[in-house]
């Protein structure tokens, strides 16, 4: 048995390999993105691994494989499950033959997400079992258990790590043997065709099955009950570690108590919870996102008329939003036990220098900056609204660019621009969308605009990768997770195929040309939907260009600093100065400098 130092996401990928997975699909999204590439890198050759165009597609591909008896896994972030909700809800009724694990990474904080939704609650809604790992090493073992349970009960299973499990690292003991997979075989059967009658019958079966699974999970190896007394603490996921550390910090001061860790929130392991509640007067639930366990315990206490008070989010002991921490858990536990809270953080000298805010920004040399500047300048005298979307280019909302007026969810820029246009016809409506997002959910919105004659300008920011989540390939890049070269799907051809009459491609780093193209696209909306494709690769996949220097004697306007917000351009002694360790050589600053003070030099040239 080998031990490797692994990120939680890598552990999940390797757990699936050990479980004999045959098909792995997904769409990138922080904090889930590293799971699927791990399977791809260690693919023994018999596993089909793909980045699908979106989460709905990914789930359906995995479902097809599971119907033929193969084990399959699909990975996504929590908002991805909203996209995949349609097939998931129906698949819950049909069930599967091969084990199928739906990995959905939640993001308390949120650190890199639009919502703080809780996939445990989605488990309750969809009537699917949910696993909630607390660490990378547990995630490895638990994903194997999830496949077993899925196959045993013929149901897809949700596997829900959170960011701190996904991006935490620990030594993980790997199993030597990979479960041999039986050859897939699709047996034609009416059970695979969803109809109202079948759904009714299967609904009854699901309701009969859930208590059986709950009973089985009451004895599950990662659902842990310990201690005694009249007080109890309940934890889940990463909060288990926070509570463990808090109890260690408080040490001997902590009175006798019971501790319950719930690793399978749905179906709720009722028998285990009743064992826990037996004899308790008060319970503190330490969990993140929804007060899920809190509600389950309250319901159980009500059902059995138990004289126990359940405290947590509703009682104000645990914060309702954001991440838990060791410090917050310590404070909550002290309040619960009536202990004095330990002295808070170390006192620091009061005269700390003011720290500048350091929000994420578009990289130095990012072509999105140039695209935004081109549109902004071309539309300077026009009334325009800029609908944004999900990706690096969402960062175009910050000053000084200030070019993202709306952002809702994947693909919504193109469609929300249509709603805005319907009520504000005198404004030019732009919708910015990245290449990967375009394939994910932009195309249906384009067709909608063409069909409903809503003239907007669709600006595809094509940087030849899925940049924000770590440079994953997509249908426009022409390479796959199987290491094959595929046919590139050309965005311009897609747009024309959808009926867009005005489609133009342009390099946003050539600012004058780009501005002229923006003006042409805006004018073309007189005849319908117009599309502009700004093609320029992400700096992470493009070679570095020239170095740039500022001639301080000529530097007067500082437009480069004020207008661009480039991290490589600093103000030094009142003049612009370029940090060539960051500069990627996009040339945008030189183009906008009114005093011709910025010059290109070959990289590495002596100055």
């Amino acid at each position: 048995m080998a031990t490797e130092f692994l990120m939680g996401n890598e552990a999940i990928g390797l757990g699936a390999l050990a479980a004999g997975v045959r098909v792995v699909t997904g769409y990138p999204g922080t904090p889930s993105s590293e799971i699927l590439p791990t399977v791809s890198q260690r693919n023994p050759g018999n596993i089909h691994v793909e980045w699908s165009v979106n989460e709905k597609v990914a789930l359906e591909v995995a479902a097809g494989a599971a119907m033929a008896g193969a084990r399959s896994m699909v990975t996504m972030k929590q908002v991805g499950l909203n996209v995949a909700a349609d097939p998931l809800m129906s698949l819950a009724y049909l069930g599967v033959k091969g084990g199928m694990v739906v990995v959905v990474a939640d993001d308390p904080g949120p650190i890199s997400s639009q919502t703080e939704q809780d996939t445990r609650t989605f488990g309750l809604f969809s009537k699917l079992p949910v696993f909630d790992p607390a660490s990378p090493e547990e995630a490895y073992e638990m994903v194997i258990d999830a496949f077993e349970l899925s196959e045993r009960h013929g149901t897809p299973v949700l596997f829900r790590p959170t960011t701190r499990v996904c991006h935490g690292n620990a030594p993980v003991a790997l199993r030597d043997t990979v479960r041999p997979a039986a050859p897939p075989r699709f047996v034609k059967d009416p059970r695979w065709v969803i109809f109202p009658r079948l759904s009714y019958e299967n609904h009854i079966k699901i309701e009969q099955r859930l208590p059986v699974i709950a009973e089985e999970l009451s004895g599950y190896r990662f659902n842990l009950l310990s201690g005694g007394g009249r007080l109890g603490i309940v934890t889940q996921g990463i909060s288990t570690g926070y509570v463990g550390e808090a109890l260690a910090i408080l040490g001997a001061a902590v009175p006798e108590h019971k501790l319950l860790r719930v690793a399978t929130p749905h179906p709720f392991p009722k028998r285990l919870a009743l064992d826990f509640l037996d004899g308790l007067e008060r319970v503190l639930v330490v969990e993140e996102l929804d007060p899920y366990l809190e509600r389950e315990l309250q319901r159980l206490a009500g059902e059995r008329r138990l004289p126990v008070t359940v405290l947590g989010k509703a009682s104000g002991h645990i914060q309702v939003a954001g991440e838990n921490t060791v410090a917050a858990a310590t404070q909550a536990i002290c309040g619960f036990f009536g202990l004095p809270a330990p002295a808070s953080a170390v006192a620091l000298p009061a005269d700390a220098p003011q720290l500048p805010a350091r929000p994420p920004v578009l990289c130095a040399g990012c072509s999105h900056r140039s695209s935004f500047i081109a549109v902004k300048r071309a539309m300077r005298k026009r009334r325009a609204i800029f609908s944004g979307d999900i990706g690096c280019y969402t960062l175009g909302n910050a000053d000084p660019l200030n070019m993202v007026d709306t952002c809702l969810c994947m693909g919504a820029g193109i469609t929300m621009a249509q709603g805005l246009r319907a009520v504000l016809p005198d404004t030019v409506h732009f919708a910015f969308i990245g290449d990967s997002t375009f394939f994910h959910s932009g195309i249906t919105g384009v067709i909608n605009a063409v069909y409903n004659r809503t003239p907007i300008v669709v600006v595809v920011l094509d940087n030849s990768t899925t940049a924000m989540t770590g440079l994953q390939p997509h249908p426009g890049t022409g390479d796959t997770m199987m290491g094959e070269i595929s046919q590139r799907v050309d965005i311009a051809t897609v747009l024309r195929g959808c009926g867009v009459q005005h489609v133009e491609k342009c390099d946003p780093l050539k600012l004058d040309d780009a501005m002229a193209a923006v003006t042409r696209a805006a004018e073309a909306t007189a005849n319908g939907v117009a599309a502009l494709i700004f093609e320029s690769p992400c700096i992470h996949v493009a070679p570095q260009g020239s170095e740039y220097v500022v001639d301080a004697e000529k530097c007067e306007c500082k437009e480069c600093i004020i207008k661009l917000g480039c991290p490589a351009i600093l103000s030094v002694e009142g003049k612009a100065w370029i940090d060539n360790s960051l500069c990627w050589g996009c040339d945008l600053c030189a183009e906008i400098c009114r005093f011709d003070a910025i010059q290109a030099l070959p990289r590495g040239a002596k100055r």
Partner: protein, 198 residues
Amino acid sequence: MRSNLVIAGVGGQGTVLAARLVARAAMEAGLSVRTSETIGMAQRGGSVVSHVRIADAPIASPLMPPGTADTLLGFEPGEAVRCLPFLKPGGAIVVNSRTVAPVTAALAQTEYSGPAMIDYLRKCCDRIVVIDGDAICADIGSPKVINVALIGAAAAAGALGLTIEQIENALRKSLRPKLVDMNVKALHAGARAAGEKQ
């Protein structure tokens, strides 16, 4: 034995690899180790923090509470100040003197001063080693080795509980072969720089 290391920097400086190297060296030494990293949107030039926790017993949480870091490794002076609340009384700071000026400072036309940050760090902590990361990177010929150089400095300052040899061993096992020589050089250059300061 329990040791907490907090690594503070700016997205793109290589804090993730730095945390992995220390963790790998600790794991090879037979110790328990947990780390937690910032991956995602903040990697685009935002503030990033890695926690590395090493012990000879099981570790419950991947994140350490404030006031418990034995060592604060600052890849950037202002980010080191931002993470000072994690440092325990009597803990050590190893910090790069090179600033990464945030776009917000340039836009507000305010000067962001690295020396003022370093002065404040000195006031808060008497076990501090300031490393000229730029000079080391210029010697090696790549700005990308700053992470490994700082790890070398921290190990040499006795702030990791691990030796340079242990880190070098982990580095050789973790990096692609063509990157090993340059990074081993950076590791030792960082260690020498720390030695000269003590």
